[in-house]
């Protein structure tokens, strides 16, 4: 399988602190790759670097062979690299359906001026977005609450809404920020099923996560970070047997890494 996204020698310094240190790996097309690591390992920084929300101190991220490291986040999104947020980041006072409709922005063919005067293209766009939003809400199981104001939704639904917003941009690779955080067993299993369904639809998934059992279940491959450095990369079973990984997690229960 060809590499869709290449992370090469990525480094980020905040003053004297090296948050991400010379990290390299590739994400292949249509795989689910997870980035894990103990607290403060630099996962979130790496996540922001890949989605262009932060600029690296050195190194670069290439998507389909083209560097995206120094682009504005909306340009990276336009190219197909789209991130989701944790649940609090949604358009709170819009309805669930409007959240997803607005997220179709990248697909619009009409210009801002076109939308202002209401050209035929703009009206086509609007109708298309509404139909597609309904499909996406169906896919993530939010159709019954489509008319609710987003801030009134319970946790599990908010996470699904975050993913629905990401899907609406029609991404090639979807970056998920801790999709299982704070979920109970059933919710986690449902989320695992949903992420797999997205991959089956042709998406590539990169996720950052704490929940080891879920990561072990869902991932094709795993990248492990500790103190900003990559200490291991491989399939879930390889990672579970890796000495360095076990050492990094020493002090935590064996259960935490799914042993």
């Amino acid at each position: 399988m060809a590499a869709l996204l290449d992370v090469s020698s990525l480094t980020k310094r905040f003053g004297g602190l090296v948050a991400v240190n010379d990290v390299s790996f590739s994400v292949r097309e249509r795989e689910i790759l997870s980035i894990i690591g103990p607290n403060g390992a630099g996962k979130s920084t790496l996540f922001k670097l890949i989605s262009s929300f932060l600029r690296p101190t050195s190194g670069e991220v290439r998507f389909k062979g083209e560097s995206i490291s120094n682009l504005a986040p909306h340009i990276a999104a336009r190219k197909g690299v789209v991130r989701t947020f944790q649940e609090t980041t949604i358009f709170k006072s819009m309805t669930v359906r409007d959240n997803v409709i607005i997220a179709h922005h990248l697909r619009s063919k009409a210009s801002l001026l076109g939308f202002f005067v209401g050209t035929a293209t703009a009206r086509d766009d609007e109708a298309g977005f509404a139909a597609s939003a309904d499909d996406i809400l169906d896919l993530v199981g939010l159709s019954p609450v489509a008319g609710e104001i987003a801030q009134n939704l319970p946790h599990g639904h908010l996470r699904a809404l975050g993913i629905a917003i990401g899907l609406a941009t029609n991404p090639s690779i979807l970056l998920l920020d801790e999709p299982f955080a704070g979920m109970n067993h059933d919710e986690t299993n449902r989320m695992i099923a949903m992420v797999r369904r997205l991959r089956d639809l042709g998406l590539t998934i990169l996720l950052v996560e704490h929940d080891m059992p879920a990561v072990m279940k869902i991932s094709d491959r795993i990248v492990v970070l500790n103190f900003g450095t990559k200490i291991a990369e491989g399939t879930p079973s390889e990672i579970q047997e890796n000495e360095k990984v076990i050492e990094a997690y020493l002090g935590s229960e064996d259960e935490a890494i799914g042993l």
Binding site: H74, T89, M94, H105, F116, D125, G166
Partner: protein
């Protein structure tokens, strides 16, 4: 609102401002009311601009700067360069929009109280510039600005020379109200098209907006430019009415009032700034008779109103409409 209802309200509103108000003023015999209503119309145009910056999540206390700038652009073009007043209206608006792009690119990155503070300073900077620049004639200001000439298109006179009119006050009133209707029409359309939703997305989370591909820097600048355009247009017409402009024609107080008009009317409603301006302007005038207690009563009433009606006067009659609530701006 459903379409027939909307058309009906629009028609009623147009009849009220273009026919009823002039008739009532004539019946009352108080020609000075023309000036009052003209001011309300113009101030509400400037306030509508401020409202639009609220709509993208920015507290704008700098509209006075653009009103002053628009006023000077119109005055200088008419007096020094002999332009027709009518051409200076769009020129003033465009000049202010261009200036706001240059100013906005760096400052629109700021949020919340930081943006508010910088815009507050802008008004003072504009006043000091007007004092210092040679072209603005310093503290003496520009006086004896001729009243608007005639406007003809393809040989037809669309608008007669204001100097030849029997009732120039009515003419100014009609001019201001026409522009007000246009401006609010534009804002209404903006807010109810996809652009309005995009502005709302900025106001609620700029990070999420950029993750779905919205060019947030561009959209912010566009909204701010439209806002400043309105400020400039209002300023230009004010100058034509008073036939003079001084560095103190628009001050920090005016900037704050533009913002208060939006608060009072309701940040969630397109027509909030219009109602807010009307109530504030007349409220202030009505309290004139209380003499030295005017400011005290006025500010107390404002505080009470904001506490009782945090979503503005329009929240009394309507449910939440455009989805913007107080306290979401930071």
């Amino acid at each position: 609102m459903r379409k027939p209802a909307r058309l009906l309200w629009t028609a009623l509103f147009l009849v009220a401002v273009f026919i009823l108000v002039p008739l009532l003023i004539m019946a009352s015999g108080r020609a000075d009311l023309y000036y009052t209503f003209t001011s309300v119309a113009l101030l509400s145009i400037a306030s509508a601009g401020v409202w639009l910056t609220f709509y993208i999540g920015r507290i704008n206390i700098g509209q006075g700067a653009f009103a002053l700038m628009g006023g000077y652009v119109s005055a200088i073009l008419v007096v020094t360069y002999g332009w027709s007043f009518w051409a200076t209206i769009p020129a003033a608006g465009l000049f202010c929009a261009a200036a706001s792009v240059l100013i906005g690119l760096p400052i629109l990155r700021l949020r919340g109280v930081y943006f508010a503070m910088v815009t507050l300073v802008l008004t003072e900077v504009a006043r000091l510039l007007a004092l210092a620049l040679p072209i603005t004639n310093g503290a003496k200001g520009m006086v004896s600005i001729p009243s608007p000439g005639s406007l003809s298109l393809f040989g037809f006179t669309i608008i007669p020379d204001f100097a030849t009119l029997k009732n120039p006050r009515l003419a100014f009133y009609l001019l201001a109200v026409t522009l007000m209707v246009l401006c609010f029409g534009i804002i209404y359309r903006l807010v109810h098209s996809r652009i309005g939703k995009l502005c709302q997305s900025l106001q609620q989370s700029e990070e999420l907006a950029s993750s779905i591909g919205v060019n947030i820097a561009y959209l912010r600048v566009v909204a701010y430019a439209v806002s400043s355009f309105f400020g400039g247009v209002a300023g230009a017409i004010f100058v034509a009415i008073s036939q003079s402009i001084y560095p103190s024609s628009f001050t920090v107080t005016d900037s704050i009032n533009f913002m208060l008009n939006c608060f009072l009317g309701g940040l969630g409603y397109v027509f909030g700034p219009m109602l807010g301006t009307l109530v504030l302007y007349f409220g202030w005038d009505l309290l004139f008779e209380t003499g030295k207690f005017q400011l005290l009563i006025y500010s107390t009433a404002m505080i009470v109103l904001m506490l009782v009606l945090p979503n503005g006067l329009l929240s009394l009659g309507m449910g939440p409409k455009e989805g913007l609530k107080r306290g979401r701006t930071a």
